[in-house]
Symmetry: C2
Subunit: 198 residues, 2 copies
């Protein structure tokens, strides 16, 4: 079996990918070597480059190839608003809504004590020093509305309010286009409590 050194190394390495077990790692290795050597070479280079080049933006903490990312350098943005999201994908979703013109802070995670993910892992110190730069007036918490996202928002809110910052949270309610019949009771209850005068 020593002859398979590179093949076994590849199968082993593919298991570092999330959700890939031994069977599918082997299937992936065989597929690449048999049917897509070009893809394997491209992926090899992409991984090496990404590890070499991608760091975290010194300002907003998202992935960036430069010390400060393009969004943070965008002179047109409102520096008094800072939106806190869990991931770069969440930031992208908010950007797509075209409703927000401030800056961001990307936690790269959420508090999850059961998984051993504490305040340090979501870069809370970096967020606090970012939010207290003297320009930020309001921090908009846009973590997910899951249990962990809510707990994260609560923790950050307490931390930042203690430093005199205004903190807000995305509104909860019935989704646009939502039919009450198909919306869960918790959402309807929240929408009722948060009802607005029209």
């Amino acid at each position: 079996m020593k002859k398979l050194g590179s093949l076994e190394a590849l199968s082993e390495a593919l298991r570092r990918l999330p959700g890939v077990g031994p069977k599918s790692a082997q299937r992936m290795a065989y597929h690449l070597l048999q049917h897509d050597r070009e893809g394997a070479a491209i992926l090899g280079i992409a991984l090496t480059h990404a590890v070499e080049r991608i760091q975290h933006c010194a300002s907003c903490n998202t992935f960036s190839e430069s010390e400060v990312c393009e969004t943070c350098l965008d002179a047109v943005r409102d520096t008094s608003l800072l939106c806190v999201v869990e991931t770069p994908s969440d930031q992208m979703m908010i950007e797509q809504t075209m409703t927000y013109k401030g800056l961001y802070f990307v936690l790269m995670g959420r508090l999850s004590p059961l998984d051993g993910i504490g305040p340090k892992d979501i870069h809370l110190e970096k967020l606090v020093s970012r939010a207290t730069d003297g320009k930020v007036q309001e921090v908009v918490l846009a973590t997910n509305f899951t249990n962990e996202g809510e707990a994260t928002a609560h923790y950050i809110s307490e931390t930042l309010k203690a430093r005199g910052l205004r903190v807000s949270r995305l509104a909860r309610g019935v989704p646009v286009g939502g039919e009450l019949e198909y919306v869960d009771a918790g959402t309807i209850a929240r929408a009722m409590l948060d009802r607005r005068t029209t």
Copy 2:
């Protein structure tokens, strides 16, 4: 978004893996960059090495880092027996049974006209020239007992018998430890037709 060049390239490249769509490619990229940069670097190197080093054994067609693999070079093996399997994993399964001491030919696939996989894709010419080396007396077909595996076995059998070779097929029947109540009717029917005098 130009700043994300390396990250986007990585997500794109991860989609070359079988069964990985855009969402999970992005999840994988984030995971590696955020939580396992060492794994990303290791996988990058493993892919590059594998593509550079792994070819097909000139004799049995399996993956090999040398021109002829160790199994084919093993002087203790019975050169009059050639077992045809679909994949290196299948070969490994047969090796583990310790019931076979001949050599192998690995098709690296199976006939599948619907997927456009024909005789050329399973290296039938290479198999024919291997099987007609003058030493091979019997070819044991150990392709899977699926529709495609059976069709492949049939096709190879016809091809090799036309060249005067003895061709056999793994026996079908009730699995060892199998309870008739839980074995499918087709298997029982086959076991009945192939019943042996004891």
